[in-house]
Amino acid sequence: MYLKKLALAGAVSLLGTSAFAACSYENTVPLKSLTAGFEAWKAVTDAMAECGNFQAELDQEFRTKQPAAFEANPSLYHIGGVSNGTITPLLNAGTIRPLDDLVAKYGANLQPNQLIKVDGKTMAIAMMVNTQHLMYRSDILADLGIDTPTSWDEVFAAADVIAKAGVVDYPIGATMKSGWNLAQEFVNMYPGFGGTFFNADNTTAVNSEAGMNALATMQKTLAYTDPEVLVSDSTYVQQQFQQGKIAMANLWASRAGAMNDESESSVVGKVAMAGAPVAVEGGAPATTLWWDGIVIAANITDEEADAAFRLAMEGLDEDMVTANNEAAIWLINGYVPGDLAKGAIETATASPSAPPYPSTTQMGLLHTALGNELPAFLTGERDAAATLQAIEEAYTTSAKEAGVL
């Protein structure tokens, strides 16, 4: 009896997944995907699921699973969600396939700038751009008569005024959680001061004047943030905004939608977006540009790849974008940029423009070194020069181990 019930429940849940409501065709090949878990991916995978026979796995820890899962033969997933940071191990191991013939077959609606080309071959289809840019409480800045800051000096000047007025707990919020987030703050700031990450021989160039400037700016931020800023990640900063505790932050564009989510936010309609502040006058915005998109595994049959790509195109179509216009800064046809996208577009179209986050093996190593060595500087245990030295040494050690030096 019990078994029968269980079998029935299983059958019903299977029926649920193979419902194909708004899909233009019925998918007959069983397909699986592994992507990050934020709002835009949910929208895309839901749209794909409408075609049936599709199982989506949304996991913020996808980056640790993906390389091994795609290396298996046959690959454990057919479709992968990547960004310019996380595509590197897949490209390096050759576990994703070139998509040119599939683009020719199914990709009629793709924009030319969605095709991520490596060495002339299309390796991924981008669906959205993401960047860290300035979010601020437009009501507070208007009350205090502050113009929208465009440089970090202006951000600090505004923070001084806000702190004096005492309208929020902390004038600035920052994603400085020790590790990846903190390293990303440096990766944003450093090119803003004109720094380059690597020399021609793959040694790192962060131990430089631009590095010192970047560290000084990060340290200046600390005076205006929550004292526990070294544990605050994107979600924490987003919540601080939603609860009206901070007035400004250089935060991910993908978090903008949450500010107007009435079930969570007490500041609906009060948070405005502007381009990422510049570090030096006339310089590029102190941030990096990211894209998110899909890849198709190499270790699957051509039929599966064909079906997977067709399904992905169904997920990335105009209907999905129209239904989820505010979920991301889409690159797909049919996207109407709203107020929330203003900052990201300003950042992406600035001149000189912010650099894309480099997708290289070395960058992964440097990112880790930064994440491990920066906290000692911000807690005051080590001065800036010694910190840059330590970063350089940590990078050199791991780069030698990884074989890039």
Binding site: R63, T64, E71, N84, G85, T86, T88, P89, L91, N92, A93, G94, P112, N113, Q114, I116, K117, V118, D119, A126, V129, K177, S178, G179, L182, N202, P227, E228, L230, V231, Q243, L289, W291, I329, L331, A344, A348, T349, S353, P356, S359, T360, T361, Q362, M363, G364, L365, H367, N372, P375, T379, E381, R382, A386, A390, T397, S398, E401, A402, G403
Partner: protein, 342 residues
């Protein structure tokens, strides 16, 4: 017992230990002396990434691994490197430099030594507290009225059944900037409290959490031990005029000594592997432990690199540390054991 019966009972356990403990240990030991790396080549690649309206294409020289034509996997080489990974973890040159120049604090700038300092302190500070608090609860319960014992035992055991990582997360949520307890304390004292902004408050919370979590374990063992205290000896001690404290000091504690050693052994082993607190409290910026260091080496970055050799070296060093810590209590148990055989 017949040897055959003995072997039949012990066999499965020995097999499992060999498969899941000895074999991985040997493999880690070997890996700590090796470095496996992909064969890299430098090629010129044109990469196109989307701007918002147009595409930006850049041509640059990239260092990428060579993919084997036959197997379709990246080519790797494995080299014996001696103690290089250990040196990379220990950074002895910096260590001696710091000692030579008299800048002792500089030693704590090196990840391994920073982690070792905390791990040792954590282990040694919580050990007497766990034994003391556990013994106190056991004595209290033993002296409580019979009708109360059941509920009291149940309540005191609760912390022990909480999953460690969940427990540490709860403490984090209670004490973080806008947590319930912090908010209450702030309202009460009128001061801004930030428990996770400096190392020493984080460490205090960690000690507190670990003692709270493990004391019930010590309590259960001690409580069982208290049931076997020889009543005759206790009564004669009372007749001799021994005070309550003297009875504890000269009768009960010596009787419980083997159990105290047992708890110390288990606690030393457990605490030296402190990990959950670091993750739960997000304390990496201020406080790290040896086990976390190994975990950090093993975690792949966005580009898929992981420092396997250094992780192996760090794991071996952790094991050496546990062995050194356990030598003292183990020697004592061994002596007692031999003494008991006479």
């Amino acid at each position: 017992m017949k040897f055959k019966t003995f072997a039949a009972f012990v066999g499965p356990s020995v097999f499992m230990m060999l498969l899941f403990i000895a074999a991985p240990l040997i493999s880690v030991f070997i890996q700590s002396f090796q470095i496996t790396q992909p064969v890299m080549q430098q090629i010129e690649v044109e990469t196109c990434t989307p701007g918002f309206l147009t595409q930006t294409c850049t041509t640059e020289v990239k260092t990428v691994p060579i993919i084997d034509e036959v197997t379709g996997k990246t080519q790797t080489t494995t080299a014996w490197v001696g103690f290089q990974s250990y040196q990379n973890v220990l950074q002895m040159d910096k260590f001696w430099e710091a000692i030579g120049s008299g800048q002792w604090r500089d030693i704590l700038q090196i990840d391994f030594w920073k982690a070792l300092r905390f791990t040792l302190m954590f282990t040694l500070v919580t050990l007497p507290l766990v034994i003391g608090v556990g013994l106190m609860i056991a004595l209290a319960v033993n002296n409580a009225a019979k009708s109360l014992r059941g509920p009291v035992i149940f309540v005191s055991l609760l912390p022990f059944i909480i999953t460690p990582v969940i427990g540490s997360l709860s403490i984090y949520w209670l004490f973080v900037g806008d947590g319930i307890l912090t908010a209450t304390l702030e309202r009460w004292t009128g001061q801004d409290i930030a428990m996770f902004a400096q190392a020493w408050t984080i460490e205090l919370l960690m000690y507190f959490y670990r003692v709270w979590h493990v004391a019930p374990f010590a309590f259960v063992i001690f409580y069982a031990g208290l049931q076997t205290v020889n009543m005759d000896t206790l009564e004669s001690a009372i007749i001799d005029g021994a005070s309550r404290f003297e009875r504890l000091r000269y009768v009960i504690v010596p009787h419980l000594m083997p159990l105290i050693i047992f708890i110390a052994l288990i606690h030393l082993m457990d605490c030296y592997r402190v990990f959950d607190e670091i993750i739960g409290f997000r304390s990496q910026a201020h406080v790290i432990s040896l086990q976390w260091l190994t975990f950090d080496f093993l975690t792949p970055d966005d580009a898929g690199n992981r420092a396997i050799s250094r992780a192996a070296a760090s794991a071996m060093l952790t094991m050496v540390g546990i062995v050194v810590l356990l030598i003292l209590p183990l020697r004592r148990t061994w002596r007692d054991h031999k003494g008991g055989a006479h």
